[in-house]
Amino acid sequence: MSGVAFWQGNEAIAYGSLAAGCRFFGGYPITPSSEIAEIMAEELPKLNGRFIQMEDEIGGIAATIGGSVAGMQALTATSGPGFSLKQENLGLAYMAEIPIVVVDVMRGGPSTGLPTKTAQQDVMQARWGTHGDHGTICYAPASVQECYDIAIKAFNAAERYRQPVLIMSDEIIGHMREKVVTPKIDPSKLVNRKRPTDVPEKFVPYRPDPQDDLPCMASFGDGYRWHITGLTHNDWGFPTNNNDEIEKKMKRLMSKIDRFRDDIVEYETFYEDDAEVLVLAYGSVARSSLRAVNDARVRGFKAGFFRPVTLWPFPDKELEKLARKVKTIIVPELNCGQMVLEVERAVRGRAKVVPLNLVNGELFKPEEILAVIEEVA
């Protein structure tokens, strides 16, 4: 169904997920993400889907993974404290290669922090939060429209690459209202996990398809019997202590993202052709940053704008190319300097990197960023 809506970011994520084919939600109430759960509670039964409010955040992601194992596209949503609690089971989903989508509507931390105020303090946790190595796919929406569009992309990526996909929203994006255009969904554009074609007797659950190095996935109850475990396992899904099998599994958990990195990475640029000062920002901060860049242009400064849409994989090659041309990259973030580390890694000293940090629960005002553009230009 196509149409126009006036939604909050949280609503757009919920409706985008439903449009993508999400039919299962397991979660636990937490500010500022609860609207997502509330909408799913109301809408999923209408679509023969399933909603369950679990006893805690840990149970919320566990039930979500269970729903996916039984064949439903599954979502959970939370904020910082809940994202911390979910990390262990998130690791299980990486290890067992179970597709789910996890939304973190970021608020200030650490600990209980600022439940009703915005922040971007969980972005490194999105990459490194659970123990052990794994590839990460993580989106950061900067508008309500993008919340809707990214929810669909996130489900497609989870199903395609058989792993959790994260959406790092924030309190401002989550609670801001904007116009959203909901296009008619072309079902052929929606990705569904690759199902086994072998007969059950010949099914090897983690044997990767030579085409793309990704294993197909059977659902419990579909006639295939297989074993899921968080232990490091071989192609049969059974625990292994064999060095070769361990290395093969671990390398594939990384390479399945590296291999498709160019397909996954998304970013947006403005005025990059002649920019001397680049502002790199994501999420809500991208909005005041773009305004500041536009204002700087009006005042005659050669300012440019770079917005990673995927925080992970980070658009490092693309940024590195730009860094050859610009003098300075300003990185405003609502934390004490997290993605700036990734920017420095990508830029490799080719441009000066200037962090700009705000952790008082508010969003940058465009003039605060503009002042820094003028200062460094």
Partner: protein, 272 residues
């Protein structure tokens, strides 16, 4: 020896199993498989979920849809699977640490929700896999590697906990009575609702070694000599029951089941 039918439920290609010689977990697995065979369950429509610990490795040995999850959380995963596909038979095998310590919250809420899952709790009063640390069911006074001077805290009564939290079927047996254990597991699976079957088992390797039950047979004899059927226990005083294991079916009631309720809700909502 297991019957051919029971044997067909095992993933023998993944043996040897990790359990110590003489461990009680195999007796429980056999009782569960006999119950599944008796109920003519389809392996492809049967889910065995588990958490972490010796007992939880059982999931991997069974040729069904099996999911070995994180410590204490298996019931939450199983809840998601059951809600998504209520037609599946879902069994959750867990140990006492998994069920009553790290997973205590999931356990009481699964009871409260009365979702149609059968929880088989293998209670050996100890964390066996990690080397014999005290669990919430280690009896006060017992020795464990983390209670070198004897446990000072009281232990959980898993059946009372399940009954209080609202489970629709609650029973207890021991590995010394595998026929009874099988019957309770069978009744638990048949029950539409959340079933808890606690089976007292032994870890002679870690618990028995420190508490004068060094061999498997010492433990089996301990269970035989200290089990009291529920009917007899009703006429006994608290003093007489001290240190005894009351066995039997404590709860067997028909109350609304969670997935039934949810499917009815869907029908209502969609019918509008």
């Amino acid at each position: 020896m297991p019957s051919q039918e029971v044997f067909s439920w095992l993933r023998t290609r993944f043996f040897p199993h990790i359990w110590c010689p003489g461990c009680g977990h195999g007796i429980i697995m056999h009782a569960m498989l006999r119950a599944l065979v008796a109920l003519k369950k389809d392996k492809s429509q049967t889910v065995i979920a588990s958490g972490i610990g010796c007992s939880s490795r059982m999931a991997g040995y069974i040729d069904a849809c099996t999911m070995h999850t994180t410590h204490g959380r298996s019931l939450a995963f199983a809840t998601g699977i059951k809600l998504a596909k209520p037609e599946l038979t879902v069994i959750d095998v867990m140990g006492d640490g998994d069920c009553t310590a790290i997973g205590g919250n999931h356990f009481i809420h699964a009871c409260r929700r009365n979702i149609d899952i059968t929880a088989i709790v293998m209670n050996n009063n100890i964390y066996g896999m990690t080397g014999g640390q005290a669990s919430p069911t280690t009896p006060a006074g017992s020795l464990a590697t983390t209670t070198p001077f004897g446990a000072i805290d009281p232990s959980f009564d898993i059946c009372k906990l399940a009954e209080g939290a609202g489970a629709s079927y609650v029973a207890r047996s021991t590995v010394a009575n595998p026929i009874q254990a099988e019957k309770f597991i069978l009744n638990g699976i048949k029950k539409k609702g959340f079933s808890v079957v606690e089976i007292l088992t032994h870890c002679h390797t870690t618990f028995g070694r420190k508490n004068n039950r060094r061999t498997p047979i010492d433990n089996i004899n301990f269970f035989k000599n200290n089990s009291v059927p529920l009917a007899r226990a009703k006429d006994m005083s608290e003093e007489e029951l001290a240190g005894k294991i009351v066995t039997g079916e404590f709860v067997n009631k028909d109350i609304p089941e969670y997935t039934d309720q949810y499917l009815a809700l869907i029908e209502n909502v969609r019918g509008k």
